[in-house]
Amino acid sequence: MEKVGKIIAFCCAESAYRAADRAGRLRIRYPDNVRVIRVPCAGRVSVLHILKAFEKGAAGVLVMGCQEGACQHLTGNARAKERVKYAANLLQEAGIDGERVKMVNFGPDMAQKFVREIKEMVEKIKEGK
């Protein structure tokens, strides 16, 4: 597989992190350039975390939170969605494709979706090269 830069996946401990763990336990193969960062809630990820990831050389950032309406902190995933939209505009302003950052909603058992989203981001990065 052609190498692309690192992809940072901020994963909510309640959903996406469990989905990532499940993907591992099920031995589903996915690109090795993804770096999973466990966060207590997607709402913990600030715009600055996203920009810093790009500043340090990330090629893409995924913010992975719970399904809409299922956040245990009530509005964490909704806030994350707004922040991702804001970060995409800021990146675009700085000359970086705003689609390199994406918010994804998950249930804890969605291992296949976790893998699919990472593969999609890898493809998007390759297309943008």
């Binding site: 600055l48 920009l51 790009f54 500043e55 806030r79 922040r83 804001y86 302003e93 700085a94 000359g95």
Partner: protein
């Protein structure tokens, strides 16, 4: 408090073009509260500038700092060591902040990264509304504490105009309340409706778009 909005990155980049070492300075008071120039916003702007300069292969080194109040000379003095290391300063303060920094460090160019918008209050999350036009001749004693100069779209001192919509909305913007309907209801509640029957001489103030609004997203 003073409400401000950040300038577009392109405009900021043009201001600092040609400088290789800059200091981005935020302010910990009004513009922190309105999400325009606090610690987080200093980090965001610096990060955006670094990303843009890497992309364009420009050499740019950025220092970051936040002072508690950029409009106070004693607090701005604390920046002296950092300012000596840079060629220019980018201020995320209001107009008063930018000018204070420029006054103290006269040998360095100081650029504004924000547009100072108005004096207002928070209406909801990330939404600020203009409340005071700083006209220098407060009128609120006659209007039940509601300023018609900024909250009436026409800035009328003798209202309402003939265009108030049903439900007490403004004819210029049906989303906004007619300030004079609000004033009438407030004075009615206080039993001071006789104030509505007095006529007041017009003030000499500039025609500006009012009331102003700033919508931001918390980072």
């Amino acid at each position: 408090m003073i409400i401000a909005e950040r300038k577009p990155l392109e405009e900021i980049k043009n201001m600092i073009a040609g400088y290789k070492r800059i200091l981005v300075v935020g302010c910990g008071t009004c513009v922190t509260i309105c999400w325009a120039g606090g610690e987080k916003e200093v980090g965001i702007l610096s990060s955006q500038l670094r990303l843009a300069s890497n992309k364009e292969e420009n050499e740019l080194s950025i220092l970051e700092a936040v002072v508690e109040r950029q409009c106070e000379k004693e607090m701005v003095e604390e920046l002296r060591d950092k300012v000596q290391e840079v060629e220019a300063v980018l201020s995320l303060g209001c107009g008063a902040g930018v000018q204070t920094v420029a006054d103290i460090f006269e040998d360095k160019p100081v650029f504004p990264a924000l547009n100072t918008a108005f004096i207002g209050m928070p209406e909801g999350e990330g939404l600020w509304t203009e409340m005071c036009g700083a006209c220098g001749d407060c009128f609120l004693d006659r209007t039940g504490g509601i300023c018609p100069i900024v909250r009436c779209a026409k800035g009328l001192l003798n209202g309402p105009c003939g265009g108030t919509r049903k439900g007490g909305k403004c004819e210029i913007d049906p989303e906004k309340d007619c300030a004079w309907v609000l004033i009438y209801r407030r004075l009615e509640k206080q039993g001071r409706l006789e104030l509505m029957r007095k006529y007041y001489e017009a003030k000499n103030y500039r025609a500006v778009k009012r009331p102003g609004k700033v919508q931001a997203v918390q980072a």
